[in-house]
Every structure is written in C-alpha cells, then in structure tokens.
C-alpha cells in the first residue's frame, strides 16, 4: 500500500477529512450506515457510488495528463458507450454489450491518440473535436431520446451489490487495481512519466513516446467507456444528451487535486481517485446541506481553492515559516 500511496498524499487525505467533517456538520446523519436488502445504505456509500464515474475517468485522465496531454472528450465518450450499451442491452448478452461499448471507447481513444501522437495536434483541440462530435454520435445512436432497457445483467452493473458494496464501486476499485498493476507492474509507469517529463529526451533514450501517448489515450477511452456503461446502467437508460456532460472538467480537477501536474511527469493513480472522492464528498455535502442550488457553484469554487491552497508548495512553505517563527518566539 505504501508503494501505491506516496508520502505526498497527506494534503489530499487531510482535505478529505476536513470535507467529511464539514459534511457531518451540515448533515448529522452523514456517517450513518445500515444494511438494507443485502447492501449498505448511507451517505458514505452514496459518495463512493456517485463518485465512481469521475473516479473511472480520472484513472484514464491521470495517465493522459502524465504525458502532458489532456482529454476533453471523455464525457462524450461516456455518452457514446452508454448509448451503445443501452441499445444492445435488451437484444444481446452482457458480454456482447460490454465488448461493444468498451470496443467503442477503445476506438475513440485510438482516434484521439492518433490525432495527438501521429498527426501531432495539440491535445486540447484534438480531443475537443471528439468532445463536440462525440456527443453528436451518441445522440445519433439514441436519436436524441433516452433509450431505456431492462436487461437485468446490465442493470445489475449499475445497481447491484457485491458484499454490501455497490457494483460500480467494486468495478472502480477493480479498475484501480488493474491499472495500477499494469502501469506499475510493467515499465509503463516509468516510461509514461519520462515521456511526460521530457518527451524529447525520452525519445532519444529509445522510449517509444508515440506508443506511450497512443496507449494512454486508448486507456482513457476504455475507462470513459466503462464509466459510460455504469452511468447508463445506473439510470437504466442512455441519456446521450446529458451523460457525462462537463464531467471532463471534474476528471481533470480530480487529477490535479490528486497532485499530478498538468505539465506532465509524475502521477499517482490512487491520489487521482482520491481527488475524485474529494469532489464527490463536496457535491454530496452540498446536496445534503439544503442550501438553495444558486449557491452550489460558489461553494464548489471556494472548496476547490481551499483544497489547492492546502497543497500549494508555497502555502506549506508559508506554514512552515510560521511554525518556525512560533517556535523561536516560544
């Protein structure tokens, strides 16, 4: 565990604890948990469950960002893959549905990766193309409707539970472990960090930087596809218009809160997922607080700034100086 969770995770854990405490204040029953129909039930579970899509997105996004890229299309990819899954769900078995949806995500990632790694487009515009067109494709699949389904297998993916935990949470956990195993178990992690840290130097050291870049976008696409399937399964329908809308910003935010620099290089999967949880803890807190919705964005802005402040090297520097001053005075 210590290998997965470096020392620098302290600020994030602290932030999470503070926000949890605030949530407890605005909603006294926040930590209540009970077992119902064989699954855990309570706000904490909601945080995990609702945080799953962004957590999955951030797993892919963190790798993309580590290579100095960015993927704005993940929300649209979610919509596409959710739409595909929903339209196939009632006529095909789960394996086919999953294969089709994840395959589509993979293709989307391949396309982004192709634009960035092969054509050399700037990631933000390259993925902007799919962000715009992708939602169109998703709507094309559903023809703008909400395509509902009742296939119990797929519904289970969204609403079932394993050992009391919602299935999406288990999937996200599995993906975290899988991604961690692939990235840190092979040399991929090192090579991605090198590519993001200095692509020219890595290329000269014999690293296949193009392949690295291509593969992270592909993985990002697959993660987004999974998130899309789960989001569709959750509401038993594919809402191409709204699925994943603006989630790319949340995913990027999660990655940055997780301490990965937007200029590439070092990354941490666990902290990115923690970032997603921090965001969701805040969101759930807002919903529980009972404040009028006009305040939502303001609260979000303030919390984001506060969390970043906590992490800012300058801030900890200031805090350190303050501490030293206090000590010398004492």
């Amino acid at each position: 565990m210590t290998a997965l969770l470096p020392r620098r995770g302290l600020a994030q854990i602290l932030a999470l604890i503070v926000i949890l405490a605030v949530d407890r204040v605005v909603s006294p029953q926040f930590f209540d948990l009970r077992l119902q129909d064989g699954r855990l039930f309570g706000s904490l579970i909601d945080v995990l469950n609702r945080g799953t899509p962004v957590a999955l997105l951030s797993l892919g996004m963190v790798l993309v960002i580590a290579t100095r890229g960015i993927d704005l299309s993940v929300g649209a990819v979610m919509a596409i893959c959710g739409a595909i899954a929903a339209s196939l769900a009632d006529s095909h078995g789960l394996p086919v549905v999953l294969a089709a949806a994840l395959g589509a995500g993979l293709l989307c990632g391949l396309w982004n990766g192709f634009l960035v790694a092969v054509l050399g487009m700037q990631p933000i515009v390259a993925t902007l193309i799919l962000m715009v067109a992708g939602r169109g494709i998703a709507q094309l699949i559903t023809e703008g409707r909400i395509v509902t389904f009742s296939s119990p297998d797929l519904v289970w993916l969204g609403n079932g539970s394993v050992l009391g935990l919602p299935v999406p949470v288990v999937i996200a956990l599995g993906m975290l472990i899988l991604t961690g195993a692939v990235v840190r178990g092979s040399a991929l992690g090192l090579l991605i960090e090198a590519t993001g840290g200095n692509a020219r130097a890595s290329e000269l050291a014999g690293v296949g930087t193009r392949a690295m870049i291509l593969s992270v976008y592909v993985w990002c696409g697959v993660c987004a596809a999974l998130a899309g399937v789960i989001a569709a399964a959750d509401i038993m329908g594919a809402d191409a218009n709204n699925a994943g809308l603006w989630l790319e910003l949340d995913a990027i935010l999660a990655v940055v809160i997780g301490g990965t620099s937007l200029f590439g290089g070092r990354f941490s999967l666990v902290l990115a997922v923690l970032g997603a949880l921090i965001i969701q803890t805040m969101n759930t807190g807002i919903l529980l607080s009972g404040y009028p919705p006009e305040f939502n964005l303001l609260v979000k802005a303030v919390v984001v700034l506060a969390v970043l402040l906590l992490q800012s090297p300058k801030f900890s520097g200031l805090a350190g100086i303050a501490a030293r001053l206090r000590r010398t005075k004492a």
Binding site: A187, A194, R200, A201, A205, G265
Partner: protein, 514 residues
Amino acid sequence: MENSLDPALPLLEVRGISKSFGAVRALQEVDFTLRAGEIHALLGENGAGKSTLIKVVTGVFPRDAGIVRLGGEEVAPRSAKATLQAGIATVYQEVNLLPNLSVAQNLFLDRQPMRFGIVREGEMRRRAKALLADFGLDIDVAAPLGNYSVAIQHVTAIARAVDLSARVLILDEPTASLDRHEVEILFRIMRQLAKRGIGIVFVSHFLDQVYEISDRITVLRNGRLVGERETASLPRLELIRMMLGRELAETTSARAATREHQAREVCASFENYGKAGYVAPFHLELRHGEVVGLAGLLGSGRTETARLVFGAERADRGQAKVEGAPVRLHSPRDGVRHGFGYCPEERKTDGIVAELSVRENIVLALQAKRGLHRPLSRREQDEIARRYVKMLDIRPPDPERPVGLLSGGNQQKVLLARWLATSPRLLVLDEPTRGIDVGAHAEIIRLIRDLCDDGLSLLVISSELDEIVTYSDRVVVLRDRAHIEELAGEAIDVGNILAAIAADGAAVALEAHT
C-alpha cells in the same frame, strides 16, 4: 565611481553565506571578494556550490545566512530584475534565454528601445547586430534564437550580459560550448571590460583558460571556501589539490600511448550516408575498441553526424551496417535496439528528465531497450543506480534525488551512466566532458579507455582539441556540414586538425547559415 576604479577596494563582498536545500548543505559560511577591474575565477568540483553561490548573490535563491555588499553597501536583491538594476549581470550555467523570441528581443528583453510606448524594432535590430558583431557573429537577429546552435545561443547570452553589466559580470561556465575562436573573442572582451573597472567572476573547468585569463582564484569544495589565491602564484598541481582535496591520480594531457592498430572488427559502418540539407554524404567506419573523434568548428555538422549515426535523424541516402549486416536506423529506438547509445550535447532539453530521480534517469534507456514487458525490478534498478553513482562519483550519492536538482556536471555523469547501463556496442558522445571538473574529467577519459579495451566503439565530439587528441585513434574533421579529412595514428595532433579545418581559408564557419 572613483572608488570602484581603485583595484584595492572590494567591489563585491560576500561574507558568511550559507545555503541548504533540505538536507543538502550547498554552501557553508562562504566568503568571496571581487575587486573592481579584476577577473576572478571561481573554481571547484562538480557540485562544489559555484552555481549556487552565484544564484544566492543574484537573489535567485534566498540565502540562509550571510551578507552581500556591493560597492560597500549591503544589498539583498530579491529578484533578478533588482540585481540587474544594481549593475550585476549574469550568464547562468544553463543557457537562460528564450528560444521562442528573436535574437534581438533576447538581447534587449525588458529594455528595448522605445518610442511612444512602441518598441523600435529596427533600432533594436541594428543595436543587436552591432552588439553581436563584437563577438564576431553575423546572424539574422530577427530569427528566433531557437533556430541557432547552442554555441550561438551561448554567445548571445554572453553578449546580453556584457551589455548589461554596469559593475559586475558573472559568467558561469561560459566557455563550455565555445571553441577556441570564440573563447579568444570572449577573453578579449573580458579584458576590455576589466580595464573599464568592471569586476568579472569566471567559472570554468578548463584550467588552461583559468590561467590564461584570471587574476585571482577562489576555490570551493563541498560548499566550503578552501582559499583565495593570486593566479600567478598558484601552481597548477596545487590548484588541483585545493579543488579535489587530493592529488590527481594521473595526468591526462599527454597523448595516450598509441594503441596497436591491429585490424579490429568493424562494429558499424556508414556508406555514402547522409541527408539532404543536413550533412553531406560521408563514409564512416567504427571499429570495436576504437575511439573516433569528430573535430570541426561550431556548426560544422558534428552534432548532425552524430544524430544520423544514432538514428535520431533519418538518413535519406546511403547504407548503415552493424557487424556487417545492413540495418535500418529510422529512430532512436532503432539505434538503441542495435546497441547504440547517444549522449546529446543539450543536456537540459535532450538529455535529462529533470523531475525523475537519478535512478530512473539511469535506467531509462536500459528499460526502453528491454521493452515494456520486462520491467527492471526495483532491486535491479537500485543495484544499477548504486553501481553507476559510485563508478562515476555522482554527488550527492543519492539515487532518489530528482536529477534536475543536481549540479550541471553531475547531470552529465547521470547521462553517461544511462548509456553505460545499456552495455552498448557503440556510444556516441556529443561534448561528453562539458561542464565536468578536472577530477571527473580524468575519470571519464580513463573510463573511455577502459570501455574501449572491452571492445566498445566510441564516436566522440569535443570542442577541446587537446582532449580529442588525447584519446582518439582516428579523427574525422568536418567543415560546412561535410566530412573533409580523416587523420589517424601519428598524424593526430592539434596542429594538423587546425590545419585541416582552416584549409581553403574557411576559418570563419560561425557565419550564419541562415
């Protein structure tokens, strides 16, 4: 002003400066005195704290303790701008100019000639041209600086600092990427400035240059002051002892005993190899256990040759062969696959991955060569890193330190380690000893010889002709992006190389190709 012309009065006085980076104590109570009108060499091993001292003086790093006086008044500049305004101009060790701006903008950034709030572009270019002309440079100053070679960039940085220096000029290894011709120009200008009463701090690992130009020497070791001497009264061996804290094992300036030129096997060969607009087609044969030097003026096409040989650039004609078999060299990956290695000359942009640790930087090429699926275990990585940190005496000897925090010379050693770790058959080194101290220099040359004895083939670029002469078995001389002559055996000496370069009176190769 009269004071500062009096050579006895200190112009810049540094007292009791200390600076730590976390656990690393880079400077401990260092004193340093610069008088007006003197050229003062600041010397020490890699990582001794020279660059740190300079950055503390100019306010780039906040200092932990100590005072700095300029012309008798205490100064505590908190930004580079304030330092400049106080009359201290600096060329930092890593070229600190902006490749995306034009040469002229770089020279006059933040002090452009203005009229009605508008930059007088024409006037600025005129002045830039005039300024560079003093350094024998005649280039298009409107073109982005990044279009030019490192050497030209370095000269531009120096020109800017010279133009800015009202009272003090600090040069941190300015000559590392210059060749003799430019060094002479630089020295002439430094002497002129000194005559005008400007104090100059000069950092270099080339002791010949130090003896040629400096009036006094201050030596640092492990972040502490070792002593300050008059250059004229300090014997070279004594200086080396001050720097290293021990005797240098062997002297390196003599030409190595000619190695027996028995017919060794060809390691790699390049026939009619070249690329249009890059380097003219050349023939090159590299044998096992042999060192081939590439000599030439700046811009003569040495780096280009190196990149073609390694595969960093794709040739558009000719055939490359490794151990007699034709191969395709289309990318660095191809080069690495065939057992080549390449230490580029631009260490910051092409070499290190600053954020990653020394360990990760060292294993990078080896890991890339092995491929994704055969990751080096952490234990293997530690093992490799430890071995090379020890072998090359990388300081501080902490493999987990981000390489960007190492001193320049130590970064260079990390790069060398990166390629040695891949056990290459051919190593291409572009300015491998740039910025490396005398002790390490000797080590690296010894290492080069040892490697060759083990059958490694080396292609080395160096602007130090003495150095090339010292270890090369053959020397290829380049001019105007073409190979013009090959010297071997007894024919290798500095005079012959210079003669080859200067043939047809083509001495001024620095003139722009643009």
